[in-house]
Amino acid sequence: MRLLRSEFLRARSRRVVPMLVVGGLIGIVIGLGIAAFYAHKPSAAQVASAQAQFQADYQRCLSGKYVGVNQAIDARYSSIEDVCSSAVTPDLDAIMLRDVEQILQHTATFVILLGALLGASLGGADWTSDTMGTLLTWEPRRVRVFLTRALAVGLFAIAITLFLQLAFAVVFWLVTALRGVTTFLPPHLFGDTLATMLRVSAMATAFALVAYVLAMIGRSTVSSLGVLFGYLILFEGVIAGFRQSVEGSLFVRAAIVVISREPILTEPRGFSGPGVPEPIVVMDVTKAWVVVVIYVLVLGAVSLVQFQRRDVT
C-alpha cells in the first residue's frame, strides 16, 4: 500500500498527467465550440414537425415494419423497443443530445491514444531519468514494483479517460441545450452512455497497460510508443489486411468490437445456395474481451519476466 501511494505521488507529479487532462479539456472545448458555432438551433415548429414524424416512424417500427414479420431481433437488442430506439432517428438537421453515445464511440480513438501515451510515459519515465535503480534500492522486490506500477497506470488511465469523457458529455449537453436539441432521448440513454464510457475507458486502460509493459521491456517511453504504433499500423493495419484469418485475433479489432458491441461478421466462402447466406461471426463481444485480456496478460508476463531477470545498470 505504501508503494502504491508512492506510485500515485510519482504519477501525479509527472507533467504528462496535467498536460493530458488540460490538453483533453482544451480539445473538447475547441471541438464542441466549433460544432456549436456552425450549428443552428431549430425552431419550435421544426422540432414539433420532426417529433410528429418521429412518433409515427417509431410506431411503425414497433409494429415490426423494420425487423420484418417473424424475423428474430438482433442479439444486441433485448426488445423491439430497443431496436426502434436505435433504428428510428428524428429527421432534423441539428446537434442532438441523443447522439452523445454514438459520438463517444467515435471519439474513442483519441481516448485510447491518450491511454497509450499515459502508460508509455509512466512506464518509461524511470528508465529515462535513470531512477529505476534508485527505486529498486528502496524496494528490491521487482514483482511488487512491476505490479504496483501497473495498478497505478491502470487506475490513472481509468480515472483520466472517464473524467474526460464525462467532461465531453457535460459540454456536449451544454452545446445541445444552447445550440441544438435535447429532446427525442431514447429510454436508456444515460445508462447506455455510461456503459459506453466505461467500455472506452476499459480499452484505453488496456492500451495504457500494453504501452506500460512495452516501456518496461524497451526501457523508454519512445521505444514503447514506437513498437506499439509500429505494430498497430504495420501489422494490424497493413499486413493483417491481407490475411483475414487473423482478423479474429487482432488487438485493435477486438477493442472496436468491445466498444461498439458489434461483432465482426464475414460472408461464408463458396456459398452457392438460394437466399441470403448466414454471415459467420469472426469475433463476437465475448471473444473480443478475451483477446484484449490475452494481449495484456501475455505481454505483461513477458515484461515481468525480463524485468525480474535483467540487470539494472
Binding site: R2, L3, R5, S6, L9, R10, S13, R15, A125, S129, D130, T131, G133, T134, L135, L136, T137, W138, E139, P140, R141, R309, D311, V312, T313
Partner: protein, 307 residues
C-alpha cells in the same frame, strides 16, 4: 557484526559482438561495523558493479554476497530498510522539486514530513527544497541523494563516488558529511577513485584493480605496505650534508634536489643535530610521507592499471 560480506564475487558481461567482459573477478571482501570503509580503484576496476551486485541491481555470475548478515539473493528486502545507497550519479526526477523526490521515496517506507525535513536540514538543502532538481548544482544533487539515503536512518551507507564531479568546496562538504555520519556510529562504505580524498576520511580501505582485490585493511596498515620512506632534508650544500650524515652513521642519498635519509621520522632530531655539529643548517626537514596514491600505484603496477 560484519556489515558487508563478499565471497568469490564474479560478474561477467556478454558483449554485443560476442565475447565476455569480466567486471569483477573472484572478489572477497569483509566490511566490519562502524567507521568509514574506502573501496578504492581506478575507473573500470569493478567498484560500481560490486555495489550494484550488493544492492540487487545486478545479478552476480558467481559468488555470495550478504548485507547486514542477510543473503543478498534471497533476503535483501528484509534489510534494505537499514541500508542507504547512492549508485554512480545521483538519479532523481529533474523536473520534480528536491522535496518531491524525497517524498516519493519516503512514502515507500512510510516516512513522514519530519524525516524529510530532518534529512534536508542535515545536508543543508532545506532552503532550496522546493526548487526543481534540474536547477541544482552537481554538489546539491549529490547532497540531495545523500539526504535520500538518510531518510531511513540507515545503519549502513553505500556511496558510489560521492565526490565525483564536485568542485573543491563540494568535496569538502561531502567529506565533512561523511565524517559526521561515520562519527554517529553508522558504517559508511564509500567507493572512490580519488585516493587522496578517501585517505582523509576512511578508517579502512580495500584496493581493487581489474575486478580483483589487491589489498585490504586499516589505512595505516595499507600505507605501511611500502615500508618506511625516511626523512627529507634540504640545505645549501647537499653533498656536504650527505657526507656529514654518513659520518654520523645515518644512511642518506641525494634525490631530486634534497637529501633523503633512510631512517624513521622520529630520528629527525638526530639528523638536525648531526648536521649542525658539522656546521650545516637545514632549510627544510620533514618526513617523507607515503600516501594512498603511491601505495596504490605500487600495488597495482603489476596489474597493468592504466594500460
Amino acid at each position: 557484526m560484519t556489515m558487508i560480506e563478499i565471497e568469490g564475487l564474479r560478474k561477467e558481461y556478454r558483449r554485443v559482438r560476442g565475447g565476455r567482459t569480466i567486471a569483477v573477478d573472484r572478489l572477497d571482501l569483509s566490511v566490519p561495523e562502524g567507521g568509514v570503509f574506502g573501496f578504492l580503484g581506478p575507473n573500470g576496476a569493478g567498484k560500481t558493479t560490486t555495489i550494484r551486485c550488493l544492492l540487487g541491481l545486478v545479478r552476480p555470475s558467481a559468488g555470495r554476497l550478504s548485507l547486514l548478515g542477510a543473503d543478498v539473493g534471497h533476503a535483501l528486502p528484509s534489510v534494505i530498510g537499514r541500508v542507504g545507497s547512492i549508485v554512480e550519479a545521483p538519479a532523481m526526477f529533474p523536473r520534480f522539486s528536491g522535496r518531491r523526490n524525497l517524498e516519493i521515496l519516503a512514502k515507500i517506507h512510510g516516512e513522514g514530513d519530519a524525516a524529510i525535513d530532518a534529512s534536508l536540514e542535515r545536508v543543508g538543502l532545506r532552503d532550496r527544497a522546493k526548487d526543481p532538481v534540474r536547477a541544482y548544482s552537481l554538489g546539491m544533487k549529490q547532497r540531495l541523494a545523500i539526504a535520500a539515503t538518510l531518510l531511513r536512518d540507515p545503519s549502513l551507507l553505500i556511496l558510489d563516488e560521492p565526490a565525483n564531479g564536485l568542485d573543491p568546496a563540494g568535496i569538502v562538504e561531502v567529506r565533512e558529511l561523511l565524517r559526521s555520519l561515520g562519527a554517529e556510529g553508522r558504517t559508511i562504505f564509500v567507493s572512490s577513485h580519488i585516493l587522496s580524498e578517501v585517505q582523509q576520511t576512511a578508517d579502512r580501505v580495500a584496493i581493487v584493480a581489474k575486478g580483483r582485490l589487491i589489498k585490504a585493511g586499516p589505512v595505516n596498515e595499507v600505507l605501511a605496505t611500502t615500508g618506511s620512506r625516511g626523512v627529507i632534508v634540504k640545505l645549501g650544500d647537499l653533498e656536504a650534508g650527505r657526507r656529514a650524515l654518513a659520518d654520523g652513521e645515518i644512511p642518506a642519498t641525494i634525490e631530486a634536489g634534497a637529501i633523503r635519509a633512510d631512517v624513521a621520522a622520529d630520528e629527525s632530531e638526530r639528523i638536525s643535530r648531526t648536521l649542525a655539529q658539522a656546521g650545516l643548517y637545514v632549510t627544510e626537514l620533514r618526513p617523507d610521507t607515503v600516501d594512498l596514491e603511491t601505495v596504490f600505484l605500487e600495488l597495482t603496477k603489476d596489474q597493468g592499471v592504466g594500460d
